[in-house]
Subunit: 362 residues, 2 copies
């Protein structure tokens, strides 16, 4: 029986800010004197509508989202967007996909059902250890959009540039790095993210879409996937995931209170540096990720062999640093250090890494 | 500022059992000594897998679901199933729909995108005030399925029989009466329900499907809507709505503890009888619902005029009986008295109704 909270390095769903959980706990039976839990509120009620609007407003402020971009609260995770994106955005029927990891490839495979989809670049031949560079991109002149995934959770790579696409809209899966660093929303046509890493809990997907891209939904698209309809209905065509939206609201409130995205970016960079410095100074640990494409969200590394990797995961877990096992496609270890992971968690991990190295170095 | 919890007569999302909210509150920061909130758990972890399996097992026990029926935990509400059902179940391309209310009609309209859909019967001409009878049904010989909605939330009608369809699978939307009364699952080919009425919170849709109906998904279907794939992956093709599933687990535990579906059915019938007796004994209140098709979940009624209706809603709300306003399509009042509404809530409402009648009767 563990009375203490652990450091949860899971890739997602993952650790949430304790302040968010405490507020949700406090309000569980009675939200602000309404006599109801947020879970019990009609999505059409004035009190719930205020929560939804507050969440949209906070997100718009934090990310500086211009008015011509609409914010949608949807369901089905990033995977549902893999279908919704081609179903909504294909007009001429062509799109370019940059394959930088497992989920970008999944998105590409799904899009092929609906149009002529071209691989603009892929790092699969190098085990997805880097982000394709601008010079590598083979972009079509007549694509409806260019698709990419800004952070590759499994491999630990992250875009450090915005591709030049000659004005063609970029569609970006930001599931694992949204809200972690400042971006210019106007660099993108559509941004989407599953909430269960940096935004809240599973069951909510946020879509931010430039309104001029809408209005071309395919007739075979399920009605709920029609972005233009969801914009018209303000994400309320049917009952939205009301509680998950409320948790997002609390996460955004926490983020505003600590200083917004500029501040969390500073903290995230500092946290990641602790880990990467430790890796760089070690000849015990290694990482296959190209240095300039290292992710500040997911840090992948390995010890000299698989037995030591397993022991690392076991020992760290016993010390309350959990879910450090790497994805099965990569092996080794992975520390997911999203916004909610406190610096202390990373410091503890680095101290453990150094101790483990000392004990097991040949 | 209201320190007391209200009686919430909302049609959904709606009141949850207080025991469920209290347990969720207690476990919010640390689920059973894991050091984590359920929201923070990886859906691939052993601890979360145990919650998912427990939820499936409880539902199977409570509803006596045979092994050849699979239980899926999906997203997108009933509306997403309006698309998924034809995309998965149409083989010959034909289906019969019984239109007993707004949502059945919505399902019909969506299915028309994907096949030749026939209206087997409709009560729309009579303002959906009754459930079409067996004798009225014009069923096709070669339909892939017959679609119906067992309880019509907006109008307050509920099926009191299972149509004879000559062996053709019945697909039933039970969003607003699942778990409220005993049914024989084998009467149906597929049962589905949004969780936000009798099962938990919004953002989770439960599908119970006979396995022999699967394996014919259309190639244009979004990958996440493929039932057979979701069966194969045990609802984990991607991250499921983990917290909403946990809330369902707590609701099912509460239901088991109080004696299961037979017991809640008794209580629901008694609660509904209190209200219907009050209506039948009154010449102040009226209801347009056909007596034999009255719903035990949603009781619709009206006072002599719209001004008194508005006053009724205002006064009852001030007394802590909230969300009694009828749907805009019907007007008047609607008391949704799902499983979680305690008998005391209905007794208070009946007492108020009698008092209101006394005060405003001409």
């Amino acid at each position: 029986m563990n009375e203490k909270r652990i450091y949860n390095f899971s890739a997602g769903p993952s650790q949430l800010p304790e302040a968010v959980l405490k507020k949700a706990q406090k309000q569980m039976l009675n939200y602000e004197g309404s006599g109801m839990s947020v879970m019990e509120m009609s999505h059409r009620s004035a009190i719930y509508d205020a929560i939804l609007k507050e969440t949209q407003d906070r997100l718009r402020r934090l990310m500086r989202i211009p008015e011509n971009y609409k914010i949608l609260f949807l369901q089905g995770g990033a995977t549902m967007q893999f279908s919704a994106i081609p179903l909504n955005l294909l007009q001429k029927g062509k799109a370019d996909y940059i394959i930088s990891g497992y989920f970008a490839k999944k998105a590409y495979q799904e899009a092929k059902k609906y149009g002529e989809i071209h691989i603009a670049a892929s790092s699969e031949g190098n085990d997805f250890s880097y982000i394709p560079k601008q010079e590598e991109l083979l972009l079509s002149d007549d694509a409806d959009y260019v698709y990419l995934c800004t952070n590759n959770t499994i491999y630990g790579t992250e875009y450090n540039y915005v591709p030049n696409t000659n004005g063609i809209a970029i569609v970006a899966d930001m599931s694992s790095d949204i809200l972690s660093r400042e971006i210019d929303v106007t660099d993108y046509g559509l941004i989407f993210a599953g909430a269960q890493k940096n935004m809240g809990c599973a069951g909510l997907t946020v879509v931010i879409v430039r309104e001029d891209l809408l209005g071309h939904v395919r007739k075979e698209a399920p009605v709920l996937l029609d972005y233009a309809l969801q914009v018209e209905k303000d994400s309320m065509y049917n009952t939205p995931p009301t509680y998950a939206i409320y948790i997002l609201d609390l996460v955004l409130e926490w983020l505003e209170n600590l200083g917004g995205i500029a501040e969390i970016q500073k903290r995230n960079e500092a946290k990641a540096k602790l880990l990467y410095d430790c890796l760089d100074q070690s000849d015990f640990y290694s990482t296959s990720v190209c240095k300039k494409d290292r992710s500040n969200m997911n840090v992948t590394f390995r010890s000299p062999n698989a037995e030591l990797d397993a022991l690392f995961v076991k020992e760290s877990s016993e010390l309350g640093m959990c879910n450090l096992k790497g994805h099965r496609a990569v092996g080794g270890m992975r520390a997911s250090i999203y916004n909610a992971m406190p610096r202390e968690g990373v410091e503890e991990l680095v101290a453990f890494m150094k101790d483990f190295e000392k004990r097991y170095k040949g």
